[in-house]
Amino acid sequence: MDELLQILNTLKPGVDFTKETDLVKRGILDSLTIITLVNELKDEFDIEITLLDIVPKNFFSAQTIYDMVKRLQDE
């Protein structure tokens, strides 16, 4: 989780990702930030993220992103 928070904080400085639970709706993660994040996650965690994973529910909060990463690592 710490690595993920570090990536998120680099992408969007000044956001408290431990508290935010509506990153997509609040416009913190727009489509441009999401693709940068996805490519960072692929690189950092060596996972395969497909289009099926790029849906709002996976990017609601740091926790949902973390859950997606864990799930993809297990696959």
């Binding site: 680099t10 992408l11 489509s31 441009l32 693709i35 940068t36 996805v38 490519n39 692929k42 690189d43 993220i49 497909t50 289009l51 099926l52 790029i54």
Partner: protein, 530 residues
């Protein structure tokens, strides 16, 4: 058959609605399918063959993808963990071949039918530049099946969604066919998605009085925008753009603003007629407009304008390109050699180029349309590149970006940029766009507002008043929606005198003030030509 014509509204839509209402639930989808193919045959005749090819191709492609996926899932269960990844890659490759073939066939049909003259001409220029003879004769009348730009996108989204496993293939051929051909949306969208639309079309809806009235009200509101505002605005816009060399300054600025009003009311009005028609059959179509002129940036504008095209490009161009292996590798390379900021933007530069190029080219076969897409690409890229500079500037000057004043500035700036884009979209050629754009800043002539010059542009005093009042009404309705009002739902709660009174008043306004009949030319929807 234009959606704003009596032929569609009275001769076609009403009988289909009655037939749909009286047949048993399980046959209702057949009424929609037969009516849709009837509508298509009336509009495109034998060109229906291309729609059929697309329908058959995506139907069998999706079934094949499903079969491969199901067989693979059974085998995968029996494999040890270390072999699963290689097996999945093998299956992915097989599925990719199937889906690529189908997508390419459909894109090829679209390219040949819609872009033959443009692409053939471009190829001939290339051949001539190396001394070879021309081989692509120009066709005087290019054949273009009704709605091909729209149904091709729907077809591609269906097979790609099945390929990615978003949902499984549908075995019912009629359901897939209806999804592509549903008559209210075949001509100009909104671009539907199978998982949101197909079941609604297929399941059959019993008659509902409230839903029917609400649908009719939406059709009337769409007609008001299209016939009273857009078709009236077309007269002035057509006159100035047709002989642009005679005009300059405020006249051209006004024409640009009125064209933006025209294309919005033409497209959004037609979509309201389409959505109202679909509502009669209990079908809720995807939203295509969301008060676009309240946008603070051009990106936001495109999230609010032609929403279904924007989301299609996001899901089937932007994301796939952004997360593809070559772009991922390029991003990694950039992270090693450039700053973190620039490296993060590299994938966006490429995928946004693909998005805006496709957006421009989709709108029409011509360099002008490609430039239209590139115009927004350049604005987006400049915005991304200069963002750190802007941030520092606002920090240094202590300008509050969330303050009311700055928000208003952003909306005005976006409105200006969008208007310039619209002028490019409307101008007959790139040269005429350039001439009109430059002429806006020359010959400053405020006297045209008072000396009666505006009345020589095809609209008389009465027309200008109708246009102004219509725009004001449009703005008021937009504001009410912004404040969270659902006008048709609220109207449904009022007494029947008010409900019927308002609907009848709207009908009379359309009949009395609509730009049709003697002295007016019937205008087909602008997006119907795509």
């Amino acid at each position: 058959m234009a959606y704003n014509s009596l032929a569609y509204l009275v001769v076609f839509l009403v009988p289909v609605f009655f037939l749909y209402t009286i047949v048993p639930k399980r046959y209702k989808w057949i009424v929609l399918l037969a009516a849709s193919y009837g509508f298509y045959l009336m509009g495109s005749g034998f060109l229906v063959i291309f729609l059929l090819i697309t329908t058959v191709s995506i139907y069998f492609c999706a079934l094949s993808l499903d079969k491969v996926a199901k067989n693979a899932a059974a085998v995968r269960k029996t494999l040890p963990k270390e072999e699963k990844k290689a097996f999945r890659q093998k299956i992915d490759k097989k599925k990719r071949r199937i889906v690529l073939l189908t997508v390419l066939v459909n894109i090829l049909i679209l390219l040949v039918l819609k872009y033959y003259n443009f692409l053939g001409g471009a190829m001939d220029v290339l051949l001539a530049s190396i001394g070879l003879p021309k081989i692509f004769p120009t066709i005087s009348r290019q054949i273009q099946p009704l709605g091909i730009s729209f149904y091709t996108l729907q077809a591609i989204s269906y097979v790609l969604d099945v390929y990615h496993g978003k949902y499984t293939a549908d075995r019912n051929f009629g359901k897939v066919a209806l999804y592509l051909v549903f008559f209210p949306q075949i001509v100009e969208g909104p671009i539907g998605r199978f998982d949101l639309l197909a079941d609604q079309l297929y399941e059959g809806h019993a008659f509902d009085w409230q839903r029917t009235i609400s649908g009719i009200q939406l059709i009337l509101w769409g007609l008001f925008q299209k016939v009273v505002i857009a078709d009236r605005a077309d007269i002035l816009v057509g006159k100035v753009c047709g002989s642009f060399a005679n005009y300059s300054g405020i006249t051209v600025i006004l024409t640009m603003l009125i064209y933006t009003l025209q294309i919005y009311t033409d497209f959004a009005g037609s979509i309201d007629i389409v959505a109202g028609s679909a509502q009669l059959f209990g079908v809720s179509l995807s939203k295509n407009f969301d008060r676009p002129f309240s946008s603070h940036t051009v990106n936001e504008f495109w999230r609010r304008w032609h929403i279904t095209l924007g989301t299609w490009l996001r899901d089937y161009v932007f994301y796939p390109v952004s997360i593809s292996k070559p772009i991922f590798s390029l991003g990694k390379f950039a992270r090693k050699h450039f700053s973190t900021f620039l490296a993060g933007l590299v994938p966006a530069f490429i995928s946004l180029f693909c998005v805006w190029f496709t957006n421009g080219f989709w709108h029409g076969a011509g360099v002008k349309y490609i430039l239209y897409g590139m115009y927004y690409y350049v604005i987006t890229i400049l915005g991304l590149l200069f963002e750190p500079l802007f941030r520092r500037f606002f920090e240094a000057t202590k300008i509050d970006r969330k303050g009311k004043g700055f928000q208003v500035f952003q909306v005005v700036r976006t409105f200006f940029l969008v208007n310039v884009g619209m002028l490019l979209f409307r101008a007959n050629t790139i040269g005429s766009f350039g001439a009109m754009f430059v002429s806006m800043f020359s010959g400053f002539n405020p006297s045209v507002l008072t000396d009666g010059s505006l009345l020589s542009l095809g609209l008389d005093n009465k027309d200008l008043v109708v246009l102004a009042v219509g725009t004001l009404l449009l703005w008021i309705v937009g504001r009410l929606h912004t404040k969270g009002h659902h006008l048709r739902d609220e109207l449904a709660q009022k007494n029947s005198f008010l409900r019927w009174g308002l609907s009848m008043a709207m009908l009379f306004v359309i009949i009395i003030f609509g730009a049709y009949g003697y002295g007016y030319v019937a205008i087909n929807p602008i997006y119907g030509n795509f």
